[in-house]
Structure formats: C-alpha cells, structure tokens
C-alpha cells in the first residue's frame, strides 16, 4: 500500500513538473504579528497573528480584559481602527484610556446577547479595514457560548484570512477549537494588596490598604506560530516547545505609582 502511494506520488510529481514545483511540499506561509505590548506574552506567543483568530479564555479576574486593553492600546497607538463587540456591555472606557487605548479609534458595539454579538462581528468582518476586531464573550454564560456552532468560528476565521485584521475572541472556556491559530488560557493568581510599611500588613486598617495589582498566569495551549529569532514569522504547524508553554505577567493599578510615592514619603 505504502509502495503504491509512493509510486503514485512520484507519478503526479513527474506529470506536474515544470508547472507546479513540489506539489506535495507544505508551504510556509508568512504572517505578520502585532505585539500585545506585554513583554512576557510577546516572548511566549510571538504576538497576535494578523489574518487569524486568537482565542483567550480563563475564569473571572484572570487578566483577559487586561490583555484585551493591551492589544487595543497597541493597535490604536499604531493608528489602526479597532472594533470591540462587547457581549455584555462591560467595557470600561476609563480603564481603557488609562491603559493607553485611543478611544477615538475604537468602535464600541454594545450587545446584550450572543445573537447580537455574532451578527455584529459578521458585519464588521464584511465591512473590513479594521486593525483588530475583538469579540468579548467573557461575561456571557459558558453554556450560551458553547452552543455556537463550530462553523461560525470557521467562517469568521475565513473572513479574516489574507487580511491584516486580527480577530480576538475572549471567553471563559475555549470554544473555537482548531479554528483559532493562537489559544491562550489564563489562570487566576492572588492579587497584591499594599499596606503601610510601618505597620504589619494584617493589622493595617482596610482604609490604609490599596489594591496594588496582580500577577496572571498564561498558558500557551496552541500556536501556529513559532517565534523565529529576529522576527515573528509563521513557519509551521508545530506546537511551541514545552519549556515556553507558560508565563506569568504582573499588572499594576492606576494608582500604584502614586501610592508608592505616598508610602515612601511617609
């Protein structure tokens, strides 16, 4: 059987020689990426692939919105027009501005249910021209998102293929399956709470403490990208090496810089 296949393959290659070189060789497709602007994530993933679907899943308070705002800030800073399909109208413009998102470059679509989200995403993909389209289903019940047929994600992926648009999906569980070129899973880590240095942390009154930030754990579940030295090029369908499959990154709050200065001055 294997001999027949080999003979058949060589016959086809001979017949197509001169017209199609190496018809059975897998071509390496080069795709550009855009940075998350978080060094640990960029080192782990190589950045957000353009013309592909990226899925970020995780429980509450695991850093999904932080990654979303970082990606939006990165794209809008480079003069791209971005769109956010907000599944439950939970986007905070103040938080976004603090993260560096240029709000005038962001088209915010405030939805109330999954049907509106999918129709809105479809319309945005058909319109085209966006640097990033984010579909935030994080607050919707996982059962609702699970019922979305796989061909929807497949259609979305086809719609962005060969375009410079990044399609970013955020949800609580991974639903896009193999349609996503990059899949990240976030995990909750304890948040940091600051306390005045002169007092023991546990004895400090609640009014003297501040939420200082957090650390989030990111696991690279699947990537069709391999960060090559000196650039981010799409090279093969191989999984990333186990040693680079996870990373942690820290966040801070808006007031962290001011609180440090205040505590130090005390």
């Amino acid at each position: 059987m294997a001999v027949n296949v080999a003979v058949l393959r060589s016959q086809v290659e001979t017949a197509l020689a001169g017209r199609i070189p190496a018809p059975f060789a897998r071509r390496s497709v080069q795709a550009e990426t855009a940075p998350f602007n978080i060094s640990e994530i960029d080192a782990l993933t190589g950045g957000l692939p353009q013309g592909a679907l990226t899925e970020i899943s995780g429980p509450f308070s695991s850093g999904r919105a932080t990654l979303l705002l970082s990606a939006l800030a990165s794209r809008t800073a480079h003069e791209h027009v971005c769109a956010l399909v907000d599944g439950r109208d939970s986007f905070d413009p103040h938080s976004a501005e603090a993260a560096g998102v240029k709000l005038e470059r962001l088209l915010w679509v405030r939805c109330r249910n999954i049907d509106q989200c999918l129709r809105a995403t479809d319309l945005l993909l058909q319109g085209g021209g966006f640097g990033l389209i984010a579909l935030d289903l994080s607050i919707l019940p996982p059962k609702t998102v699970r019922y979305v047929p796989l061909n929807v994600w497949f259609r979305f992926r086809l719609a962005v293929e060969n375009t410079p648009t990044i399609l970013l999906l955020l949800d609580r569980e991974s639903n896009a399956g193999s349609c996503a070129s990059l899949v990240l899973r976030l995990g909750f880590e304890p948040f940091r709470w600051s306390a005045p240095q002169t007092q023991h942390a546990s004895a400090s009154p609640s009014c003297a403490r501040l939420l200082d930030g957090s650390q989030f754990h990111v696991e690279l579940v699947r990537s069709r990208m391999k960060a090559a030295a000196g650039g981010h090029k799409f090279q093969s369908f191989a999984r990333a090496p186990e040693a680079n499959a996870a990373a942690n990154f820290r966040t801070k709050t808006n007031w962290s810089d001011f609180s440090e200065t205040f505590i130090e001055s005390k």
Binding site: S61, S90, D92, H94, W108, V109, R110, W193
Partner: protein, 536 residues
C-alpha cells in the same frame, strides 16, 4: 464671444420622463385639472402621431391605445429646471435663466478647457443626457440668435459669425412666440418664415406692427443685441416626486428613492460637488392618518385651527461627503427600516446639502482603515442590530461621576502619525494596568459587615468570603441633581467555594472554587449595596 443656448423641448413631458425613464419611447399625454374635468395639456410627438390633441379630456385620451397618461407635475418641472441650470453651471459660471425650458451659457474663455464650440455643444448635450434630458443646443456669437436657433433646430447647431440671418431664414416665425394677433397678421401677409420677415421694409413694418414688429424684424435678421442677465448660482439640490398612489411598503419606496438619488447625484456630479447631508421629507396620506384617529376626535383643534397635515422629516448627516447614489440609497433604507413613517406616503422630497468632494491621499506608511462610505453603511447596519445608541466611539466626560462617558459618532479619521502619548499603562516592557469590567446595570448585593468591614458577600452568580478588602473610599457629587450620587466603595477579593447557577454568571457543573476581585459600593442614597464591576 460666443453663447450656447440649451433648450428642452416638450419640457413638461421631459420632466415626467426624467422621473420615469422607461416612458421615453412611449406616447405620453399629460393631463391637468380637477377630476373629472382633467384635460390634456401636453403631448409628445408619438402621441401627436397617434392622433391625440391638446384639450382632450382624460376619458377621450384614454381611448387611444398604448398612450401613457400622467399628471402634470410642477414639482418635477421645478427639479428639471434646476437640473438644467446645474448643467449650465457645470460648464460656465455665466448662465442666464431665460425661461423654464431654456438657458443661455456664456462660452467665453472655455476653449482652452473644453475645446471648440462644437465640442462644448456636444459636451452639454451629453451631460444633459446624464441628467435625464434630451436637449437642443445652439451656439452663436449673438445671444438672441442662439436662443431662437436652439428652439428651432433639433440636435446641435453652430452658427458662424455673419451667417445668422441665412441660418435663421428657414425657421418658422413661431420660434419667436409672437402674440396671436401679430401671428394672424403675418399669416395674412403670407409671411411664414424668418427669411420672409427679414425681407420686409423696416419702416413700413414698424408703422403697421409697432415696436414689437421691429423686434421681430431684428430677431429674424439676427441683428438684435442684448446683454446677458446672469443668474446667481444656487447651491440648492432638491428633487421631488408627487405620487399618484400612496406608497406603504419599503421596497417600492426604495425604488422611487433610488431614482431621486440618481438624479440628485448626477446634478451634484455636474457641479463637482458631493452631499454632506440628506434631507428626507415625506408628505403622508392624510386620509389614512385621519382614519387611524378615533371617531370622537375632531379634525380640528378646539380653537378652530385645522390639524396640520402629517409630515415625516429626517436629516441624515454623512461622515464624509458622498455622491454614490447606491451607497446613499442603502443608508436611507437602513434608517427607514429602523424608523419607518407611520402612514402611507403621497409625496417625496429629497434634498442634499452640498460640500466639496472628499480628497484623500493615502499615506505611504499609514495603515489601511475602513473606507468611510462602507464604514457608514456598516455602522448603520450595526445600529439596526443593537440600536443607535449602542454603536459609536466612547468619549469620556469631564466629571467625577463614576462611569461617566457618552457615545459619540464614530468617524475613522487618519491623522499624521503622532508621537505615542505617554500613559499610565505598560508600554514597551512596563507593567500593564489591571483592567476593570463594569457591570451594567450594577447588581444588588447582600454584604455582611464585621467591625465596619465586609466579610461575606453574595450577589447573583457569586457568594463567598471576603479574604481581602480595602476601603471605604467615599465619593459623592452633583447633589443639586436628581441623579446625585453618594457611595462608599470597597475593593474586595472574594473566595467562592462552590458554583451556583444563575442568569448572570452561569457556571458549568464542574466549576472549581474561584477567587475574584470586585469593586462593591454602598449607595447611601438608595441605602443598598451594589457591585460596580470586577478587575480582570
């Protein structure tokens, strides 16, 4: 110096045909008057050949086979005349508004732009076709000669200087539209052509026919000279249509709006302008509006004034100047789908505010952005899905009120690349700022306090022990308003031991214990706890 006169023959008929291009090859009769005494007031050549005559009643005209009978439409005639003026201004800034069916254009200085006089005449005829009109164009160095030649000769006529009398000679005297009595007198004398009129002795003619006879004599010889009376260029682009039957559905309405938009965009294109806003006005069917009212409600106000006729009016401002009629039609249809008129439509008015066309040059190093016209269409479609107020760009309001922002219209403008603004966020290796998700509307919570500090909290989809908390952070403001706020905020970390199934945060059966960091607040005005959102 040369003048071009543009004449629209069968003006009333052409005004109707402009709105219904399919009628162009048909025999058409226009009627006017109050039913049942409507009479034929205009017919085209095909109708005349079929035997129709002016003054016939509608019933008589209807007996002729394959005759299209339409109501004369002053509205469409007005639009057609405006289109004719636009045609003149598309070529020259000096245009005379001579009559409803004719204009005169000064061709001085246009040779370097458009070429010879014949080329200009051809251009005018072609542009008139684009506007839906079949015109007769005549060019002469004498204004009056051009005027009368356009009325008398079909197609394009160019009269070289010195040949005015000879060329006008073959025309009938009717082109000068003399008074009826003078026509009869000239008929009795056997004078039927301009050549014959020009040969009459001037002194004797003036004795018998007066100054009007002298005028006619000068016109016939092509020696009458007068100055142009310039018309002021107007930037008013409006098209209207009176409907014979009220339109109730969107599909036929879209068909009619498409025609009007085609005419409007052609006029804008002739003047090298685009539309930056569209005025849409429908006159609604009064009778059906009255039928909808209960019988006891009178048709008048108590003080005797009649209730005003219903009008549906909308103003659509466009993000960029456009003149693509198909794109504009799609935008109008999307808006009408979301906000349809309440009664059948009997008249349509469509106006455009003009602006200079959009000139855009892509930067070599700027990323591509959505096409503004397609983007406007996409936003209109999104508005149909989620509502007008739920699509746009967020704009922060300068206020201390929590979650203060407004939705503004999204316009994708490309500015020159700026230096990236410094912000508190992580850029290039710095820590990112922890994002916050807002719960809209904020769900109520039950909070257990111990020594003034929250220790247990439950709200739809979450309950658990508070393992860390900071606060209270008091904020209040705008006490003079009804929606003043006064709250005490806490940031709390909650440990949830088990899942619970609710509408807001439905969990899978295998959910593990989770933590979450939330912002809760005590609303001192409503005396209740709420959850503002969570850090994610």
């Amino acid at each position: 110096m040369a003048f071009a006169s543009i004449y629209v023959s069968d003006f009333s008929i052409q005004a109707v045909v402009r709105a219904e291009p399919t009628l162009r090859q048909r025999a058409i009769a226009l009627i006017e008057g109050c039913p049942p005494l409507e009479r034929v007031v205009a017919i085209n050549e095909a109708a005349a050949r079929a035997g129709l005559d002016l003054g016939m009643t509608k019933a008589q005209a209807a007996q002729f086979p394959s005759i299209e009978i339409r109501q004369r439409s002053p509205l469409e005639e007005q639009s057609t005349h405006a289109a004719l003026l636009d045609l003149g201004w598309s070529v020259s800034p000096r245009v005379e508004d001579t009559a409803a069916d004719s204009i005169v254009v000064d061709l001085t200085g246009l040779a370097s732009l458009f070429g010879s006089e014949e080329a200009i005449a051809n251009l005018l005829a072609q542009r008139a076709l684009d506007l839906g009109l079949v015109v007769q164009v005549a060019v002469s160095s004498n204004l009056e000669v051009a005027l009368h030649a356009a009325r008398g000769f079909a197609g394009i006529t160019v009269i070289p200087p010195g040949e005015e009398s000879r060329r006008l000679g073959v025309l009938p005297i009717q082109v000068f539209s003399p008074p009826v009595e003078m026509m009869e007198t000239l008929e009795r004398w056997g004078i039927r052509t301009c050549e014959a009129l020009a040969k009459l002795p001037l002194l004797e003619l003036s004795e018998r026919l007066g100054q009007q006879g002298v005028q006619l004599h000068q016109w016939a010889r092509g020696t009458s000279v007068r100055s142009m009376i310039l018309a002021e260029p107007k930037l008013c682009f409006e098209e209207g249509m009176a409907l014979e039957y009220a339109v109730e559905e969107l599909e036929p309405l879209a068909f009619l709006l498409g025609r009007l938009l085609d005419q409007l965009c052609a006029r804008l294109s002739a003047r090298s302008l685009s539309a930056c806003a569209l005025h849409l006005r429908f006159k609604l069917d009064n009778s059906s509006a009255d039928e909808a009212l209960p019988a006891k409600i009178p048709n008048q106000h108590p003080d005797g004034k009649p209730i005003e006729k219903k009008v549906y009016e909308k103003l659509f401002t466009l993000p960029v100047p456009m003149r693509d009629s198909k794109m504009l039609l799609r935008l109008l249809c999307l808006h009408l789908q979301s906000d349809p008129p309440r009664a059948p439509i009997v008249r349509i008015f469509l106006g455009a505010e003009s602006a200079a066309p959009r000139v855009r040059q892509e930067g070599l190093f700027l990323p591509s952005s959505p096409d503004p016209e397609k983007l406007e269409l996409t936003i209109a479609r999104l508005a149909n899905v989620v509502g007008n107020s739920n699509v746009g760009s967020p704009r922060l309001i300068d206020s201390h009120r929590p979650d203060a922002f407004e939705m503004s219209r999204f316009i994708a403008s490309h500015n020159a690349p700026e230096v990236r603004q410094k912000s508190l966020s992580a850029t290039e290796g710095h820590e990112p700022v922890a994002a916050f998700r807002v719960f809209r509307p904020a769900p109520r919570a039950k909070v257990t306090l111990r020594e003034g500090r929250p220790v247990h909290i439950s709200f739809p989809g979450m309950h658990g022990e508070v393992v860390a908390a900071c606060g209270p952070w008091r904020t209040s403001g705008e006490w003079w308003r009804e929606d003043a706020w006064h709250r005490e905020e806490w940031d709390v970390e909650i440990h949830r031991p088990a899942a619970s199934n609710t509408d807001l945060f439905e969990h899978s059966p295998s959910a593990e214990p989770q933590n979450g960091v939330y912002r809760i607040y005590f609303d001192a005005i409503r005396q209740a706890w709420f959850v503002a959102g969570m850090y994610d």
